[in-house]
């Protein structure tokens, strides 16, 4: 009986796959002979024609396929690089950008391919979040190709940025953007409370809290806001102190005095109306920033296009570094949420991919980076590119200060701290702990809960 059942199931599978394969109705008979003539026709060809080979890394010798996820940010940067490479190296070159709705789609694609044991579903290049990369190299060592042997001047990039994508001295990632944290303030609102942008530089968090209270009392605006569920404040503030939430690969919260002090600053900030915690990411960007609830924004510099959405406030913003616990002129520098381009093991044109990335993003090519900045607001972490004229122009929105050059300069000061595969689970747990403390829970107990939960995940 059992045997018969098994064979019935087997037969069923075969029938199903026959049914599934044969009547692919609109698949043209000519799909085998993929003539690389008119690309337009190739693009219009229905997806059935590519069904036979799930492999989407491009066939054509001059084409590379890449996954990226933000058409207002990193996709324009990739288009800039494509144009640059076409103009200066290979006029036949083509970059096929496949848009994903969010960064996690790319991570899921790698996870799924890895779990199926078949990386042929991956494109040639993927844009990947820096914080995740190490975990994905550990979990899927066969998914990646390195930049070994490529002629690239890595010293041009900030050390902190490269620390995410370099594993045992081998470079895997090509930096695109720059996650350096800026603290942007509305100078007009500061002025109403009796301060200038220079008063905000090199101060301690305690002094900052005093100012925040005053700004709220005089203007009704919060000096800082953040997504309460995906709270990046603890990470950024801790990095500015040169401290990590991790120690030797383990979570380190309950024994971490700096961490506790920072949590305390955030909790007091919320209680004093200096800091506002939004419900989620869109609440943070759309209500607090675009909705004009704040007098200050602290985040990775990719937040700038969001600030600029409110055109009424042009000329009123300026940027500076972060406060620190110590103050007394000590400025804080951190980095949050950048991404880099990685070549997958499915790329059959490794040399082309390395050459393309090396001669555009890797060579500090001003053509690529200038266009990326203009069209997408992507700021480089390449020192060479940061010296270009475009970077040194004053930006009208920021009161004609050269913010982009300022950011590239700031990026050289960001301290390298221990990173972990569990960066995001930790962020979630710490965010929950902070919300619980604000609603009255005991601080030490909440922090211990967060630590326990992260450790639980780590033991998986």
């Amino acid at each position: 009986m059992k045997k018969r059942l098994v064979s019935a199931v087997m037969a069923g599978t075969m029938v199903a796959s026959l049914v599934a394969c044969s009547p692919s109705p609109s698949a043209p008979a000519t799909s085998e002979s993929k003539a690389p003539e008119t690309t337009a026709a190739a693009q219009d060809a229905p997806q059935e024609s590519t069904a036979a080979s799930a492999d989407i890394s491009s066939e054509d010798e001059n084409t590379l396929t890449v996954y990226a996820w933000d058409k207002n940010f990193n996709i324009p940067a990739l288009e800039a690089a494509e144009a640059d490479y076409q103009k200066n190296v290979n006029p036949d070159f083509k970059l096929n950008i496949v848009e994903q709705s969010q960064s996690s789609d790319v991570e899921n694609a790698v996870t799924l391919a890895g779990s199926a044991g078949d990386y042929s579903t991956l494109p040639d290049i993927v844009l990947f979040q820096d914080h995740y990369f190490k975990k994905y190299v550990t979990d899927f060592p066969d998914a990646w190709a390195s930049f070994d042997g490529a002629d690239i001047n890595w010293d041009d990039f900030g050390a902190e940025k490269l620390s995410y994508s370099t594993i045992d001295g081998v470079h895997y990632g090509m930096p695109v953007d720059n996650g350096t944290v800026i603290f942007a303030y509305r100078t007009d609102l500061l002025e109403q409370a009796g301060y200038t942008i220079d008063d905000m530089k090199g101060i301690s968090w305690d002094e900052w809290l005093e100012i925040g209270k005053k700004v709220y009392d005089t203007t009704g605006k919060y000096l800082l806001s953040m997504d309460g569920d995906g709270n990046d404040l603890p990470y950024m503030m801790l990095q500015a102190e040169g401290v990590s939430q991790f120690k030797d690969g383990d979570i380190n919260l309950t024994e971490n005095e700096t961490f506790k002090k920072i949590v305390d600053v955030i909790v007091r900030g919320v209680q004093d109306n200096a800091i506002y915690l939004a419900n989620d990411w869109s609440d943070y960007t759309d209500q607090t920033i675009v909705g004009d609830m704040v007098a200050g924004v602290m985040n990775g510099n990719w937040i700038i296009p969001t600030i600029q959405q409110v055109s009424d406030n042009s000329g009123k913003w300026e940027i500076t570094s972060m406060p620190t616990l110590e103050g007394n002129g000590k400025e804080g520098f951190a980095s949050n949420g950048g991404s880099s381009l990685y070549i997958t093991s499915n790329c059959k044109k490794l040399e082309l991919a390395q050459d393309f990335l090396g001669k555009t993003f890797g060579a500090g090519s001003t053509e690529t980076y200038d266009a990326a900045l203009k069209n997408g607001g992507v700021i480089t972490c390449s020192a060479t590119a940061g010296k270009s004229a475009v970077y040194n122009e004053g930006v009208e929105y920021f009161n004609n200060t050269p913010v982009y050059a300022q950011i590239v300069e700031m990026s050289t000061h960001v301290p390298v701290v221990e990173q972990s595969d569990y960066h995001y689970p930790t962020r979630t747990q710490v965010a929950a702990a902070i919300q619980n403390i604000i609603s009255g829970a005991d601080a030490d107990a909440s922090i211990k809960d967060a630590e326990d939960q992260v450790r639980f995940a780590m033991q998986g």
Binding site: G12, A16, G114, D139, D280, F456
Partner: protein
């Protein structure tokens, strides 16, 4: 003799035809539901990178582990809270609406019915977006409540644990009441009008006819909608992800959302553990559906 032979062969042919009709569907369900479920069970006994899974020691470690997982226990609590509050409210409202719409004297019945059903034609992604905007701190509900003087200042609905849960429940009621109403309405239309006439003559009031006639006659439909709702609520996912993101501080996260976070959500794919969790959800749904069937059939 001959004709008898012929008869049995015809019957055999019919018998074979019966199996032939249900074979494609059965095979597809076995291959595409049960076989993956079996594989998921194997994965649930493993741990490590999705590319190189290894057996856990002891073998049921992923299952014993979940009892120490405070977040999972919390997600179970949240899900059952939705189940206990939302499902009864929704089904009672649905029966009530169906009862009202079943009145032959009611004008504009078609329009009312369409409008009540309309919410479930909107896509899940969009309805979460709509509710999120409506209940935002600066959103419409707040402006109305503040202008009416009910609230002194804008209230952060999605940022406060109890009200975030409430918003999810309201959203669920909004989307699914009409859907269930259609089933009840259909069931009511099968009840002969004369039964009600007779009850009226006997002097029964509306309340008594409702409990004495409508509910017993609708019992099969009620059992079916209950099972569908239990199933849907225990697998609740989109609302938790899109409406509240499980927050604030995980106070609205559902079991399915937590399972998803364990395999895809946060960059650390733990397929073994998440498969174990989904197996537990499967067992919960099956047990509840079984109890429901037993209770529903009791008086038959």
């Amino acid at each position: 003799m001959n004709s008898k032979n012929k008869e049995t062969s015809v019957l055999a042919k019919q018998h074979r035809a019966g199996w032939f009709f249900l074979l494609p569907a059965t095979i597809l369900i076995f291959v595409l539901n049960f076989y993956p479920m079996f594989q998921a069970f194997i994965i649930s006994l493993k741990k490590g990178s999705p590319a190189a899974l290894q057996w856990t020691t002891p073998i049921f470690n992923n299952y014993t582990r979940m009892f120490q997982d405070k977040l999972f226990i919390r997600s179970v609590g949240n899900t059952f809270l939705y189940l206990l509050i939302q499902v009864p409210i929704m089904l009672i409202l649905a029966i009530l609406l169906a009862q009202l719409l079943n009145n032959k004297d009611l004008k504009f019945r078609g329009i009312f019915r369409t409008m009540v059903f309309l919410p479930c034609a909107t896509s899940l992604v969009s309805y979460a977006l709509i509710f999120k905007s409506l209940f935002a701190t600066q959103g419409l509900i707040n402006s109305v409540l503040v202008n009416l003087g009910i609230f002194k200042e804008n209230f952060n609905f999605l940022g406060t644990p109890w009200s975030a849960k409430m918003v999810i429940i309201i959203a669920l009621i909004w989307r699914w009441t009409g859907y269930n109403m259609v089933f009840y309405l259909a069931g009511l239309q099968n009840i002969e009008y004369s039964v009600y006439e007779a009850a009226k003559i006997d002097g029964a009031n509306g309340w008594e006819t409702f409990w004495g006639i409508t509910v017993p006659l609708l019992r099969p439909v009620i059992v079916m909608t209950f099972i569908m709702s239990i199933n849907g609520t225990l697998q609740l996912f989109d609302e938790s992800v899109n409406l509240t993101g499980g927050g604030p501080a995980n106070s609205t996260i559902t079991m399915s959302h937590y399972i998803y976070n364990n395999s895809f959500g946060q960059g650390v794919g733990n397929f073994g553990y998440s498969s174990a969790l989904s197996f537990i959800v499967f067992i919960m749904v099956a047990v509840l559906a079984y109890i429901n069937l037993k209770v529903g059939d009791k008086r038959d």
